[in-house]
């Protein structure tokens, strides 16, 4: 009986330690999106200049939907040049970058676009409906949509050249129709 107890108490700690080990290795910020593998929610917004921006127009292309805000420093400031550079590099190959500015003031957003010389279309999600449709919980978040309109990757945090190129190249290599 005594010997059993001597083993049982340390053994009881094993599942607790395993749970802690699992918990500490999982980042609470990395929340798996249920949208990956599902069709990208459509939206029709207006760009900062007032032109209509409808996602449906870009069907058949690889679409990169980037949620950002001018107050999101430094991550959005880090990725803005990356997005612009890759948009210029890939736009002739059937890739569209779409910026969605959320929880922002129009003037601040225009200044941001001007400062970074962004040339890809940027729309403002004034009511937050598009953000919620995409399950956005922070900025920046970037969704890579394949040519069949399926969300294939959700990237949380600043997009890097490596992530952009690797993902877009992979999606471009796929056939447009199943």
């Amino acid at each position: 009986m005594k010997r059993l107890w001597r083993w049982l108490i340390p053994l009881a700690a094993v599942p607790v330690l395993a749970l802690l080990a699992y918990g500490f290795r999982v980042s609470p910020r990395d929340i798996p999106s249920p949208l990956v593998g599902r069709p990208a929610p459509g939206f029709a917004l207006a760009t900062l200049e007032g032109a209509p921006l409808d996602l449906a127009v870009h069907g058949g292309k690889v679409v990169v939907v980037n949620f950002w805000a001018s107050w999101c420093y430094p991550a959005c400031y880090e990725e803005a040049p990356v997005l612009e550079r890759n948009w210029r590099g890939y736009r002739e190959r059937g890739v569209v970058v779409v910026g969605v500015d959320i929880q922002d003031k129009r003037e601040a957003a225009l200044k941001f676009v001007g400062d970074f010389g962004l040339t890809f279309p940027v729309a403002q999600d004034l009511k937050g409906t598009v953000s919620v449709d995409y399950g956005v919980y922070g900025v920046p978040e970037t969704f890579f949509v394949d040519r069949r309109g399926q969300i294939r990757l959700k990237h949380v945090g600043a997009v890097t050249d490596e992530v952009f190129k690797a993902t877009v190249d992979r999606l471009l290599a796929e056939p447009a129709s199943p």
């Binding site: 929340i31 798996p32 999106s33 249920p34 949208l35 929880q103 009511k127 937050g128 409906t129 953000s131 919620v132 449709d133 995409y134 399950g135 956005v136 919980y137 922070g138």
Partner: protein, 157 residues
Amino acid sequence: MSRVALGIVTMLALIGSEAWPSAAQTRPAVNEDVVHDVAAQLRCVVCQNLSVADSPSEMASQMRAIIRERLAAGESPAEVQRYFVDRYGEWILLSPPRRGFNLLVWLLPLAAVLVGLAVAAALVWRWTHRRRSVPAAPVVVDAAMSERIRRELEGES
């Protein structure tokens, strides 16, 4: 005089009945309590441990507006909740649904309490039984000591 008063009362009643349906038309028939109930079960996505109902953030107020709109469009509170779960996953719910793996959250504390009670009971049993099996040694009082005790007790009174 009473005729005038009756006229005024009738007029007011007419204005009242007239005003009521127009007010109901301009405002969507959404019970704010229902909006609050739905919002209270959703996690505010930009805060730490706050519900959409409690958060003053812009994102939460936009989410409350979306809840209100969907309820006004005739969706049930459960459907509105499913809309958010579809997009954010179960993570958005402040209390996870009681099924599958999530049941651990409810069952583990109960199991821990039961195990704790069992351990406490076992320990108490062991302590009480050890005392009974090893009786304290009898106190030996010799004649001189009992004499002294008697004296001291008498001296006190």
